[in-house]
């Protein structure tokens, strides 16, 4: 197994763990009100999107250049 493959496996598992946790936290905080809660929700949502991107990069769907 190459170094890149090991990195991708760890990134894949990490993306799943962090992405699901971020999504669950976002759902828990959905009812919170106020400017700080709103900004936190937007930023948590974008972080979850980042996890999806990292996941797709780890399974070679994104970031594959010829």
């Amino acid at each position: 197994m190459t170094e890149a493959q090991i990195e991708k496996i760890i990134a894949l598992l990490g993306a799943l763990l962090v992405g699901v946790t971020a999504a669950v936290q976002l759902r828990n905080d959905w009812a919170a009100k106020g400017l700080d809660a709103l900004v936190t929700k937007v930023l948590l949502g974008l972080m979850a999107v980042g996890c999806v991107l990292a996941f797709l990069a780890a399974i070679n769907v994104l970031g594959v250049h010829a």
């Binding site: 993306a15 400017l35 936190t40 930023l43 797709l56």
Partner: protein, 215 residues
């Protein structure tokens, strides 16, 4: 308000909101103004990054080939696998910081310190990963003055790395302040601001990861 809280026990977000209302109104108003100011600070940082990101996108779409050639040598693509791993380290630190603040809000001090320390360690881990990434990129022949690709990459990731470094220092100071009792269960704006800053740094990395490694 105290009667209402006593007759109907609150939980979760409502309990936290009720504690805010118990605080003196002057603090509540000051907090709102501080929060608005901090959000404007984050927006101004968005403009700063936005300017450099726009420059990178412009340079990239106007280049005849990407990665560009330097002499007869075509520059290599960046290492997506390692970047994905390092991204997860940073995103993970965002989640741990969120947990830290939630534990502070719910008056669980020990867990707050544990999650805060985990955040600081993950932030330092990301910086070490960036140092490793920069070394690999330099070995591949991509340098700051050598090409528009290198200039954009080192400027943007360097700016971001500096923000992460400042964030690590900021969180360390917040932890020390919390230890000294500066923050209470109802007055903890510094911790809220620190968490927002750290989430912001995460989100900027989502954009940079997409532009440099996915696009």
């Amino acid at each position: 308000m105290a009667t209402a809280v006593a007759t109907a026990p609150l939980a979760g977000h409502e309990a936290v909101a009720a504690r805010y209302l118990e605080v003196d109104p002057v603090y509540a108003e000051t907090r709102s103004i501080r929060l608005l100011g901090f959000v404007f600070f984050l927006l101004s940082d968005c403009v700063l990054f936005g300017a450099f990101i726009f420059a990178y996108v412009y340079l990239r779409i106007s280049a005849p080939t990407w990665p560009p050639f330097v002499g007869n040598h075509r520059l290599p693509w960046f290492d997506t696998a390692f970047a994905a791993l390092n991204s997860i380290v940073l995103f993970g630190s965002g989640v741990t910081m969120h947990f830290a603040l939630e534990n502070w809000k719910h008056l669980n001090r020990q867990k707050f310190y544990r999650w805060l320390i985990a955040t600081i360690i993950l932030g330092l881990g990301f910086l070490l990963g960036q140092a490793h990434e920069w070394t690999g990129v330099l070995r591949g022949g991509v340098t700051w003055p050598g090409s528009t690709m290198g200039a954009s990459f080192f400027t943007l990731t360097g700016m971001h790395g500096f923000h992460v470094f400042v964030g690590v220092c900021y969180l360390t100071v917040l932890g020390l302040q919390a230890r000294r009792g500066i923050y209470t269960g109802s007055k903890y704006f510094g911790l809220t601001a620190g968490t927002l800053y750290w989430h912001f740094v995460d989100v900027i990395w989502v954009v940079l990861f997409t532009l440099f490694y996915v696009w």
